[in-house]
Amino acid sequence: MLVVKSVHTYYGNIHALKGVSLHVRKGEIVTLVGANGAGKSTLVNTICGMAKPSRGSIEFNDRAIEGLPPETIVRRGIALVPEGRQIFSAMSVEANLLMGGYIHRKNPGQVREDMDRFYGIFPILKQRKGQLAGTLSGGEQQMLAISRALMSRPDLLVLDEPSMGLAPLVTREIFAIIRELKEQGRTILLIEQNARAALKVADRGYVLEIGKVILEGEGPELLEHREVKRAYLGKGAKQIWEA
């Protein structure tokens, strides 16, 4: 479904991605783990059109998408839940969802239906629908950001560190949501620093280090990998990572 082939991305003269390749098949959850500054966000931004690759190709549903603007890529069926959630904080919860469905604005019935579905899944959003989104708690904002992304009815959902800055209990809740999305048969690319939790839910995983994929494999297999254990699950890994 998604095929990324030796993509290079620069910020000025910082070489943030040095030939990254990966793929996601339909119905899979694939996770990308790596330390701070490894280039995870750069990779998802390159996939979603927020950053332009200087070399390499990205194919989605058999069409080239590299270098297209984000407005076009979301229409092709990739939705991103960006790092730090990036909700429309000065707008109401309901307006946030409405904006998520912007590309389907010609079909208000469908948008309404989707909105009601997410209100059903996350009753807290329904309770708070008239409230400014910036007043929600971190976990609620993350639920809103995920719902907003799903409002575009994507084929592929990309989550960039959904557990960032959340308390352990809330992190666990977010992973429960991801597991649920998996059961619905959605295709997900999950970026996480929380390697253990991510590899547990994922079918496959990639490990990114300073702009390169250094390891890839099945989720459980990577979980047992000596290198991964040393670098991401070892002594340094804190308790709060245990979701």
Binding site: M50, P70, I87, M99, S152
Partner: protein, 291 residues
Amino acid sequence: MTTDFFQYIVSGLTIGAIYAMVAIGYNIIYSVTEIINFAQGEFVMLGGLFAVFFAGPLHFPLYLAFVCAVGMTGLVGMAMDRFVIGRARNASVMSLIIITLAVSIILKGGAMLWWGKDPHSLAAFSTGGPIRLGGVAIQPQALWIIGICALIIIALTLFFRKSIYGQAMLACANNPDAARLAGIPVKYMVLLSFVLSAMIGAAAGVIITPVSMMEYDRGALLGIKGFGAAVLGGLGQFFGALVAGAILGLAESFCAGYLSSGYKDAVALVLLLLALFLKPEGLFGSGEARS
């Protein structure tokens, strides 16, 4: 004595409505782009002079001259974004603001070449003398000004609250990256903000011209006063602009009536400075300007 007082209120509210419309023009562009568009006053001037052109040499009926003047100025706003602001999109907000100053100088120069330096007049929207209420004389044009201002504000409020495009504009203002990820074409929303602001400014210019005439260099002062109202009301706040416009208009009118009309133009600046010293986020502001 009391009739004077009410007379000043009427004229204050009339000019206040104009300031409010100019302020709303600033607010629309500011809320989508964070740019303060110093060409906003020129939109007002252009609106008035285009109306003079359509109604005078071209002999259009007044309502058609109004519509055409607003449309032409909208095109100027579109051109300003397409050919100037849009070309410099990677520039910082500060340089974009300076670019708008340059645009205002060009528009003013162009207007001087086309319309000359003399003030031009336009017929009032309805004929007949002032309406007398007690001892207070109300010019019909004052009612037109307040009525059109009210209509525009109602329409804009509905647009930003109810229309998906209005909401999308607010989303761009709130978080442009997230807006693009949701598929909202930020570029077009910025363009739309320039067109809308230009049209609202132009409408203010058309309706004020029968009262005070219009000349090529009127934009600067109207622009500064509208900016004062925008800051006083809190940048980006529509309701604030309305209230601040009224306050400014009333203050000027009382100053002219009870002190001297010579000080009138200073009132806006004094209020602007007071606002910046005492409450930089404006009366209804969100506190952004303070940080």
